[in-house]
Amino acid sequence: MITRKNSNTSNTKRVALFSTLVAVTTGLQVAPKPWGFGLEFTSFLTFSTGVVFGSLFGASLGAFVMFVNGFLSPWGLAGLNMPFQMLGMSIIGAVGGFYKMENNGKARFYGESAVLGAFLTFIYYTFLLNLGYALQRSLFSPLSLLEAFVVVQVEGAAFTALYVISNAVLFGAGVVPLVSAMKKILGR
């Protein structure tokens, strides 16, 4: 009886925490950013959610947030980019679930999180988002998809670098404390 009650409490906490994460991540993603661009919190929150709740929840959160973003983004409708954004963010959430962070206090996890943040951001921007842009570019210009892909890689290099650096810092500084806090809330 006591075990069952504890299990129910634990599930309630999980649902409440996950719902809060969905709301906060979606809100931060679609809110206009006073700094313009170069810093986003969605990857960081999606990855951390994956670490605590597992790949399925991380991936679902990422895909959901980018789906909503596709319609409500302050930059306008995402259009053809939306599936690439959804796929990219769900990969980040899924990778979080695969990442083993057994002992959150270890200093090495700060470094590993920073590297993972940079790596996932790089993959997200260079391969997935840029593929979406290249597809649009090739549809509306004489360039082939491959040519457009190379062009957008070079044109967007500074933009990508900005996000890679900001996410490396954000993941490095924030993932371990956030994951620890979430695990504490869940009583793990």
């Binding site: 590297v115 004489p142 890679v164």
Partner: protein, 152 residues
């Protein structure tokens, strides 16, 4: 001192990202440098600028004199009254010669190349440095269909 497998993977990953990003940034700055170098070899340039007001009126400002390094927006401001809002990504043109209606239309611009004809640039007009004898075109077009038809 041996490095364990996990540490090795993360160090390798960090080096890989650094190498790829450095290569991309290097290519970006190299191509930007080449482009600017070619466009700023002369101190003064001449450009051809067309403005299509979307109501059948088209004004051409051929052989407009400009300074080397001037942007599309700089040259447009020389020949017309321009209203715009500045964003971190560049200037958004709201009106040229007070033409800003209907609200379903927007000011976009094209560049001409002999290889591709008219094409839509990927940067804002205040971020694009014009080259000598370059031909560009402002077009007040309906944004309900995308991409807009290029100038005929």
């Amino acid at each position: 001192m041996s490095m364990n497998k996990r540490t090795f993977i993360f160090v390798a990953l960090a080096l890989l990202i650094w190498a790829l990003m450095a290569s991309l940034i290097g290519t970006y700055y190299y191509l930007t440098y080449i482009d600017l170098f070619q466009k700023t070899r002369k101190s003064n340039i001449e450009v051809n600028l067309g403005i299509n007001y979307g109501n059948g009126t088209v004004h051409w400002f051929n052989d407009t004199k400009a300074r080397s390094g001037d942007t599309m927006l700089d040259v447009t401001k020389q020949v017309a009254e321009v209203n715009y809002t500045s964003y971190p990504t560049g200037a958004f043109i709201t009106a040229i010669d007070n033409v800003d209606q209907p609200a379903t239309k927007a000011w976009i611009w094209f560049t001409w190349t002999t290889q591709f004809g008219w094409s839509l640039p990927s940067v804002a007009s205040d971020r694009y440095v014009l080259g000598d004898n370059e031909t560009t075109y402002w077009y007040f077009v309906d944004m309900s269909t995308w991409p807009p038809s290029p100038p005929s």
